[in-house]
Subunit: 187 residues, 2 copies
DNA sequence: CTTTCTTGGAACACATGTGTTCCACTGTCT
DNA sequence: AGACAGTGGAACACATGTGTTCCAAGAAAG
């Protein structure tokens, strides 16, 4: 019963989590057998690490929040103008790709507990956008919450563009930044 | 066995379809019992109109394509500048709301058969965007497919904004049009 | 009122996913 | 070689959704 993170256990856990992300993206109803196959482990092993399905979902939610918090830190929201910080944040989030897609396409999977209350990263982001509206780098006609919505939506669009239109990651990011900059920047 | 669209049958069918749209939006795995309850009919009745689950999905797909085609026609894509036509189309699509959300959040539900091959509405739209790029009203740095992606993404964002941020439909549409116009219009 | 159409509910067999238990196999470390 | 942690697979009971059949009740049309 003791679980002394032996390195192997940590690796197996990660493999299961990653497989869960990639499998449940685009098929929210996938079975644990599907996840197990994608992770290259037996279904029994999944139950060893996550006794119930909801435990796996919860772990995914926590994992995602962690990744988002890290990306937000790396973006240094307080450096430079707000619009520059937004550009950096967009690039960081862009790199999360697969992980974020799930939160977008199947919000009901994540919306469990932690997510309901605004995360620290969210509060930081909203505050930073407000700063941009005051300093004039962000279009003041748009509420901060809308700017945030647009950011998420364009991120989603850029990943769809990669999937559907054989666009390179680099080009997609460029288009995303261009559209975002034009859309929410001050005229 | 004969099905002579008696007006009552048509109404029941519509009730089931509408319930299916509203129920499956946000919970793609909802059971037919859930749909039946939402439609105010018995589960047996659903099977009378749509023998198998896939038949219901197919009917939803066809219904949605029809609504999109109608909206596209109403937008008169060939009148005025391309950017004006895009504004009109955005407003038409905005009104479809609930119906379109499903295609967005659960594409795998719709992606069945008809959808794979580009619909006529899609081709019309792409051609119109190309026209805008040539005449200079649409930012030529953006591929037509990307402009389309941005349109869908901002539509989704505006509906999210209504759901999450207690914004009125009117304000949300205004923000959507503003962001879209700025994002894809020529500088 | 009587016939016809449509419906809702109960009961059923069937398929699929879930969670558990048990046992044998494979590495690794000593 | 022996001890041990980690694993995969089979087997099981259980829950839920699906598709079908049958029948009685209600509404609509003559």
């Amino acid at each position: 019963m003791t679980v002394a993170e032996t390195g192997l256990r940590a690796r197996t856990r990660r493999a299961i989590l990653d497989a869960a992300f990639s499998t449940l993206t685009g098929n929210s109803g996938a079975s644990l057998s599907d996840v197990a196959a994608a992770a290259g482990v037996g279904r029994t092993t999944i139950h060893r690490y996550f006794p119930e399905r909801t435990d796996l979902i919860t772990a995914m939610s926590e994992d995602l929040l962690e990744k988002i918090a890290l990306a937000t830190t790396r973006a240094r929201l307080n450096d430079g103008t707000a619009i520059q910080a937004l550009d950096r944040l967009l690039q960081e989030y862009f790199e999360l790709g697969d992980y974020l897609m799930l939160a977008f396409t199947e919000p009901h999977i994540i919306d469990a507990a932690d997510w309901e209350t605004e995360s620290p990263a969210d509060r930081q982001l909203i505050a930073m956008i407000e700063r941009g509206r005051e300093e004039g780098s962000v279009d003041a006609r748009m509420p901060a919450s809308w700017v945030q919505q647009v950011m998420w939506a364009l991120l989603y669009a850029s990943w769809q563009q990669i999937r559907d239109e054989e666009t390179s990651k680099h080009d997609a990011l460029g288009l995303c930044l261009l559209a975002f900059h034009k859309a929410v920047g001050s005229a």
